[in-house]
Amino acid sequence: MTAEQIIFFLTAALILISALMVVTTRNLVHAALWLIATLFGAAVLFATLEASFLAVVQIVVYIGAISILFIFAVMLTRRNLLDKVSQTNAGWPWAAGIAIAAFAGLVFLAGQMHNAGAQKGEVFGDPLMALSTALVSPDAYVLAFEVASIMLLAALVGAVYIANRK
């Protein structure tokens, strides 16, 4: 049991338990807070995978903006402050069955992969510099980067327009 494995198990336990609480709790604000715990676990996982920029951006974007947006939306769309009704719809056994089938299918597919038992290789160079060069270099991913920023602009304008009081 190396330290790396212990950290992975603790982080995976945090992520999966928080995700289960997200989909089963009745209080929606608690669900949003459990989502924050899941996202934080994912950020820890990114940090152990040497993707330091992604870990920090996960915290800034997901926890610092998206989760707060969720909490605002939950607070703005309910009639009384203490909702205690059941939160699952009538078809939840089917949903559980589909989820388990999806998990089994994905695990089976992963077992078919030939490099599923691979270990970590060396990290080439400086990932941060390589990432920043890849995002703006013409023979790498600058087109995807620019299109993503236009998409964010469209989402910004669209969200403001939809939520505006006419």
């Binding site: 604000v29 608690h30 807070l33 924050i36 330091s52 920029f53 610092g64 707060i68």
Partner: protein, 393 residues
């Protein structure tokens, strides 16, 4: 003598020898040393926080032309201790219908998010927590956790005013994150790295405030707004919203919020000092790190004093003015400044130092002058569109 030139390494080696001599395994000794280091660092930061309570009360008193605490100890230096004892002895009230776990977690997260920041601050050339290569973005991330703690506090209090105060505060904080990130990008562009240690070391020849004064100003304004301090403190003004999300907190939980706010202000004073005013640089700071740490604390105190000066001089700004100021003025200005800085830096890349500094400084001055002219033209247009009122018409 080697302790004076590299204190951390000397202490680390001595402790490692001690623990290995006691027969501990290698990784246990290293782990215990790291934990000891963390505990010591946080204790030093919290002791500084206690001192800051005294500094705050004395300075606000002097700004308001009175003396401040002067009974307990010489110059009232021991005043924070009666304050803390009073807060600890107060009754711990949890309002009815409040969410207990979230209610208790919020002040802890609020103080924790400030202590996280101290992990990356370079106190001296060889004294810092960790040299992250994404340190500036880590600072923004720790601020995001602080934002989260505020909305947790507001919601868990089961109180309309607390919720309203929390909404305003969070809208304020996430809006002003954008000019802060862009202002943090300016030293990144100049140095070419997001590492805090690298940025502070790159200021050995000249301070970055000479190269980008407008960037320092934008960072200072955005930092004051992030802190939630006056003039941006509509969310916790006692006369407006009955101290916002703090309302339902009593005793030491309120003490945690208050101490966290003061420490946050001092930390941002330290950031302004480290990013733009040379950090730990000074005479003989390169060889003697402890002297560098002293310079850094002095500069951080000066930055903190500037933040307090702004707080106790300028009146409060209304919430819609606050947000309009951010989105319509500060964010476009920050982006234009970033583009101008990047362009000028690229053009003057190989120029001699004096030409580089004067070129960047002049570009900043030009941008500031153009901004003032645009604002004057707008104000003139607005004045002329309102017809003058004639008396006796």
């Amino acid at each position: 003598m080697e302790f004076l030139t590299d204190p951390i390494k000397v202490v680390y080696d001595w402790l490692l020898e001690l623990f290995l001599g006691w027969g501990w395994a290698d990784w246990v000794a290293v782990l215990v040393i790291y934990l000891l280091g963390i505990v010591l660092f946080i204790s030093a930061v919290m002791v500084l926080d206690i001192l800051l309570v005294w500094v705050e009360r004395k300075v606000v008193a002097r700004f308001q032309d009175r003396l401040g605490p002067n009974r307990v100890g010489p110059f009232g230096l021991f005043q924070p201790f009666p304050d803390i004892i009073k807060l600890i002895l107060k009754e711990d009230i949890i309002p009815e219908g409040a969410d207990r776990v979230v209610f208790n977690l919020a002040p802890i997260l609020s103080l924790a998010s400030v202590i996280f920041l101290w992990a990356v601050v370079p106190l001296a050339s060889r004294i810092y927590g960790v040299d992250l290569n994404v340190a500036l973005l880590y600072i923004v991330a720790a601020g995001a956790i602080g934002t989260l703690s505020i909305i947790m506090a507001g919601w868990a209090s089961n109180n309309k005013y607390a919720l309203l105060g929390a909404y305003r505060m969070v809208a304020n904080m996430i809006s002003y994150e954008i000019p802060m990130v862009v202002a943090l990008l300016i030293p990144t562009v100049i140095v070419g790295s997001m590492s805090f240690v690298a940025i502070t070391e790159a200021q050995s020849d000249y301070w970055f405030v000479l190269v980008s004064p407008l960037g320092a100003l934008i960072f200072l304004i955005a930092a004051i707004a992030e802190l939630g301090r006056s003039p941006f403190d509509l969310n916790e003004g006692e006369s407006e919203i009955v101290s916002g999300y703090h309302i339902e907190y009593s005793g030491m939980k309120f003490g945690l919020f208050y101490a966290g706010e003061l420490l946050h202000a001092f930390t941002f004073g330290g950031f302004v000092a480290a990013l733009f005013f040379g950090g730990w640089h000074g005479p003989w700071a390169q060889e003697y790190p402890l002297l560098g740490a002293f310079y850094f604390v002095v500069k951080a105190m000066i930055g903190y004093w500037v933040i307090m000066w702004v707080k106790y001089t300028v009146p409060r700004i209304r919430i819609d003015h606050m947000l309009a100021f951010n989105w319509k003025f500060l964010t476009p200005l920050a982006f234009i400044l970033l583009m101008v800085t990047a362009l000028t830096h690229r053009v003057l890349l190989d120029a001699p130092t004096w030409l580089y500094i004067s070129g960047m400084f002049l570009s900043n001055v030009l941008l500031a002058w153009i901004t003032v002219e645009v604002l004057r033209a707008q104000a003139r247009r607005k004045r002329e569109s309102v017809p003058p009122v004639m008396v006796g018409d």
